[in-house]
């Protein structure tokens, strides 16, 4: 094969040599035998070809010839080619993007040394003391590390801005087998003394975007939270830690956490905090099951070691009962992945279905194209072109189209990816997935190209092989009608069916979003803003300061803002009136609030009173509960005056219920109704290791008068943090990123599919009309009325569309169960099904109506005169 290719390349020289040799032959022949020369003067060209064929097998030549033909054919009809490639490009782009995201977040192994030997601890968050114990007791790991990703405000030199900081043991780089790009990475001594200088390792991306890829960055300090951190090195490009989609900007040793944020001290000393994930590299030759068995022993010992003997037996039992195990970490560990796994799989399905629709569209276009070429095909067959060769040529044309489409796709995909990521990334939760072209992606694209080409070339090939040579040569406009017509109609039915499936999916997502958005949060979110303030600020002073602002009607301070979403939640198990604690699976949600919180949010107070400043630290402990809490624990009784007990034994506190507030949503709109207990901020301080507080501000008008002055005031209340003043309605929107992204992506894809299907209906019906022109003409000449013709043609359209809708609805009904977890409406929501079917039928009717009108307008005389 290689020799053949070489010969091809050297063909010119080869041919020249051969010709020279031949001339000599002739010259000598003429000298020796003048008569014989004339006789032997055969077909020189033929001889040269034969000689060459020895080297270059004809097949290769023919392939290249076919490729040339295909290219010529494609460029001869640029509009047709562009349309086909464009339609196909649309389908391929979406598939490529879906694959790229799926691969980046779910499938691709970590770009580190032998990722298949990495494991992480399931059930995934642990305290640092327990991690240390496990590390000391486990022998099946060559090394292991703890890490955690959290958002801090970092000043790279141009003001505070949110950044993702990774806290990690220095062993991380050794475990992953990663070296520095410049400077050094974390070393063992960074793990030890808590008091030594804080150091950090930059990611390549941050080094480039924030610090201008300056090599002199080593030794420079940046401010992270409360601490100045010295940069000691930069990780190599391509290394993003261990969490796909959550690449840290900077990595700091675990034990420096308290210096960054005082409140994080608990995180590294408290044995039952759940702050760190653990990853490890298995020792050589140890299988995962073996390692897990050994690990279980170490795990139990570690639990024994950290659980204080002084704990009451019941609690001790519970702590000791905690289980975990080793899980392969070849593809890393990522919260982003967990959040988007299901939506991504849905995206992949949608993309696949859209690809089916585009392939069907392309098939129909190519089939129509083949009809147009039946004359050409017939000529070729008649002059001896083998049917196999013909099939091959059509396949090559298909491959060429698919290749063109994939080039288009690769050009568009980066933008589409960016758009998709921007849909789900929010200011406080960056999603670091970009568009990268690698071998895996190219392999996927190639596979896609071959699959598509094979799928949509089959029909034209079959058709071409059945071209009736004699009829076609005679110039008959009559085409292989019956066969192709049925094919076209069934393809359109398939397109409609798939579109209906997509529409139903998109409809369900959209209805879910609408349903969630229509949920009453229980407070008035209009004109309501929230802002972070420092935990050290006196709430009363903060409220007074904020209320001095002109546009502010009311202000309050709380531990968690309305719709806390990513800012978290505080849950406790409780007991009523000192009864035994409820070992219920459902925790009660708590929020610590200042007086005026309930009224600032306009949460109706059902009974009792709001907190006052008199409910201070030393005074009687009080609580306000919500209506759901009252219903669950007191039924018809009046809860006011009863006590809620939190904590156990020595740390137990009894809170007297003084008020009942209406129900509100705590973390998200889509959550179940929760039992909520409010406690006065002043009485909660010691039980909560708060990092920050939130001021909730009710503005007099939608736009805050003099927002800049308000921002300055907030900055004064929160000197060490970037100002984050946001409308609560924006918080609500951000808490719905997944829902919103799913809905808009699904709707876009469904719309594409629907447009393509309608184009398919239009194309097939137009074709049908032009083929039956004569027949319709005759019928009209015999007295058929235009309305009858119109009805008949429209009837055909609707038969196809109805078939497609029926199949599509059935398929959707059978498969939507899989996405139930993403929905907030029933997966068999009748309105969605009806709307999808109705939309499709109406649009199909419109698409079919245009050719039907044309059929009805046929003048019998013109139709009869044609051919």
């Amino acid at each position: 094969m290689i020799r053949q290719l070489l010969a091809r390349i050297r063909y010119r020289r080869f041919d020249r040599d051969l010709r020279e040799e031949l001339e000599l032959h002739r010259a000598l022949l003429t000298r020796d035998d003048a008569d014989g020369a004339a006789r032997a003067m055969g077909n020189e060209l033929r001889m040269r070809e034969l000689a060459r064929d020895v080297w270059v097998r004809p097949s290769l030549d023919a392939w290249l010839q076919d490729l040339r033909d295909a290219l010529r054919f494609a460029t001869r009809r640029p509009a047709f080619t562009a349309t086909v490639a464009g339609v196909l490009g649309l389908g391929v782009t979406v598939s490529v993007v879906a694959f790229s995201l799926l691969d980046a977040l779910l499938l691709r192994p970590l770009p580190v040394d032998r990722p298949e030997r990495l494991v992480y601890l399931r059930d995934p968050s642990f305290s640092y003391p327990i991690v240390r114990e496990v590390q000391q007791r486990t022998t099946v790991f060559t090394s292991s590390f703890a890490w955690n990703l959290s958002q801090y405000d970092v000043d790279w030199g141009a003001g505070l801005q949110p950044a993702l900081v990774m806290l990690a043991s220095s062993a991380m780089y050794r475990t992953l087998g990663v070296g520095p790009q410049i400077g050094r990475l974390l070393a063992a001594h960074d793990d030890d003394a808590t008091e030594s200088a804080a150091v950090g390792v930059l990611s390549d991306r941050t080094w480039r975007t924030q610090l201008g890829a300056d090599a002199a960055v080593i030794g420079r300090t940046v401010r992270i939270g409360d601490a100045m951190v010295t940069i000691v090195g930069v990780t190599p490009p391509g290394f993003f830690g261990v969490s796909p989609g959550r690449a840290p900007d900077i990595t700091v040793p675990v034990l420096r956490a308290p210096r960054l944020r005082q409140s994080d001290r608990r995180m590294v000393i408290e044995p039952f905090a759940a702050s760190f994930h653990v990853m490890a590299r298995l020792a050589d030759g140890v299988a995962l099951e073996q390692a897990d068995a050994a690990f279980q022993v170490a795990w139990r010992q570690a639990l024994e070691a950290v659980t204080p003997a002084s704990l009451p037996p019941q609690r001790r039992e519970r702590f000791l009962g905690r289980r975990t195990g080793l899980v392969s970490a070849a593809t890393g560990f990522s919260s982003v992945r967990n959040q988007f796994r299901q939506p991504l799989i849905v995206l992949a399905w949608f993309a696949g279905l859209l690809l089916v629709v585009t392939c069907a569209t392309v098939t129909n276009m190519l089939v129509a194209g083949t009809w147009g070429r039946s004359r050409e095909v017939a000529v070729r067959v008649a002059i001896g072109c083998g049917r196999m060769r013909l099939a091959r040529q059509l396949l090559i044309e298909g491959l060429l189209l698919a290749t063109g489409a994939s080039v288009l796709a690769l050009a568009i995909a980066p933008f589409l990816t960016r758009w998709l990521v921007s849909l789900v990334a929010t200011s406080d939760a960056a999603v670091t997935v970009g568009w990268t072209v690698d071998a895996r992606l190219l392999a996927a694209v190639t596979l896609l190209v071959v699959m598509c080409a094979a799928a949509f070339s089959i029909a034209p090939i079959v058709l071409a092989l059945h071209v009736d040579t004699s009829t076609a040569l005679r110039g008959g406009a009559r085409q292989p009608a019956a066969h192709g017509g049925a094919l076209g109609r069934s393809l359109v039915a398939v397109q409609i069916a798939v579109s209906v499936v997509l529409l139903i999916g998109a409809g369900l997502f959209t209805r879910s979003l609408a349903r969630v958005l229509s949920v009453d949060p229980g407070f008035e979110s209009r004109n309501l803003y929230s802002a972070r303030i420092a935990v050290t600020v006196d709430p009363r002073a903060a409220i007074d300061a904020l209320q001095e602002e002109r546009g502010v009607e009311a202000a309050a301070v709380s531990l968690y803002p309305p719709i806390s979403d990513r800012d978290g939640s505080w849950t406790q198990s409780i007991a009523i009136d000192g009864a035994a604690p409820l070992e219920s699976s459902r925790f009660t949600f708590f929020n610590a609030v200042s007086p005026g919180f309930v009224s600032a949010l306009r949460i109706p107070l059902v009974a009792g009173r709001d907190f006052s400043w008199a409910d201070a630290a030393g005074n009687a402990r009080v609580a306000i509960v919500n209506a759901a809490f009252a219903r669950r624990f007191f039924a018809d009784e009046n809860p006011i005056g009863h006590r809620v007990s939190v904590g156990l034994d020595a740390s137990r506190r009894d809170l007297t219920i003084v008020g009942i507030a209406a129900d509100t949503r705590y973390q998200r709109l889509q959550e179940e109704r929760r039992e909520i207990v409010y406690v006065p901020l002043a009485q909660a301080a010691e039980s909560v290791g708060a990092r920050e507080l939130f001021a909730t501000i009710r503005a007099r008008r939608a736009a805050i008068d003099d927002a800049e002055s308000l921002r300055q005031r907030i900055a004064a209340l929160n000197p060490d943090r970037a100002v984050r003043l946001e409308a609560v309605s924006d918080r609500i929107r951000q808490s719905l990123v997944t829902e919103r992204a799913l809905s808009s992506v699904a709707l876009s894809l469904a719309a594409c599919a629907l447009v393509l299907s309608c184009a398919g209906v239009f194309g097939v019906m137009s074709h049908l009309v032009s083929r039956r022109m004569q027949e319709i003409g005759i019928r009209m000449a015999l007295g058929a009325r235009a309305a009858q013709v119109l009805r008949q043609m429209l009837g055909q359209t609707m038969a196809i569309a109805a078939g497609g809708v029926a199949i599509g609805s059935a398929v959707a009904f059978a498969s939507v169960r899989r996405i139930e977890g993403l929905l907030h409406v029933s997966s068999s929501d009748a309105i969605t099904y009806a709307a999808a079917a109705g939309t499709t039928l109406v649009l199909a009717a419109v698409a079919g109506w245009i050719p039907a009108r044309r059929a009805a307008a046929i003048a019998p005389t013109t139709a009869l005169r044609a051919d």
Binding site: E21, L24, L28, R31, D32, M47, A51, R52, V54
Partner: protein, 109 residues
């Protein structure tokens, strides 16, 4: 009048060329001449079979080609038998002898 030249038996041309080349290096025309002479004008090979056959032999490595000067001082490609070709020729000859003998036996039986 002499009898018309015979067609070369299919599959034997390569062997014949190799045999001719086993004595000396020749250019294409020389090969054809030598074949004609050795067969006493019975075997005549046309250029349309000769040159493809030579290319085939080159491809298989049975002969080597080298450009040299011909008798009329033009550039000519001379073909030389290789060791590989020698071996191939020997085995072909054995096969062919067996084949011809078999045919003879049948015809004279």
């Amino acid at each position: 009048m002499a009898q018309p030249p015979a067609e070369i038996l299919p599959g034997t041309l390569d062997m014949l060329i190799l045999r001719v080349l086993s004595r000396e290096s020749l250019h294409g025309y020389g090969v054809a001449q030598r074949l004609q002479v050795l067969s006493e004008d019975v075997l005549q090979v046309g250029e349309s079979s000769l040159y493809p056959a030579l290319q085939r032999l080159l491809l298989n490595g049975y002969v080597e080609a080298e450009w040299g000067a011909s008798e009329n001082n033009r550039r000519a490609r001379y073909y030389t038998l290789t060791a590989h070709g020698q071996k191939y020729l020997a085995s072909e000859r054995t096969n062919f002898d067996r084949y011809i003998n078999a045919i003879q036996r049948v015809l004279h039986a």
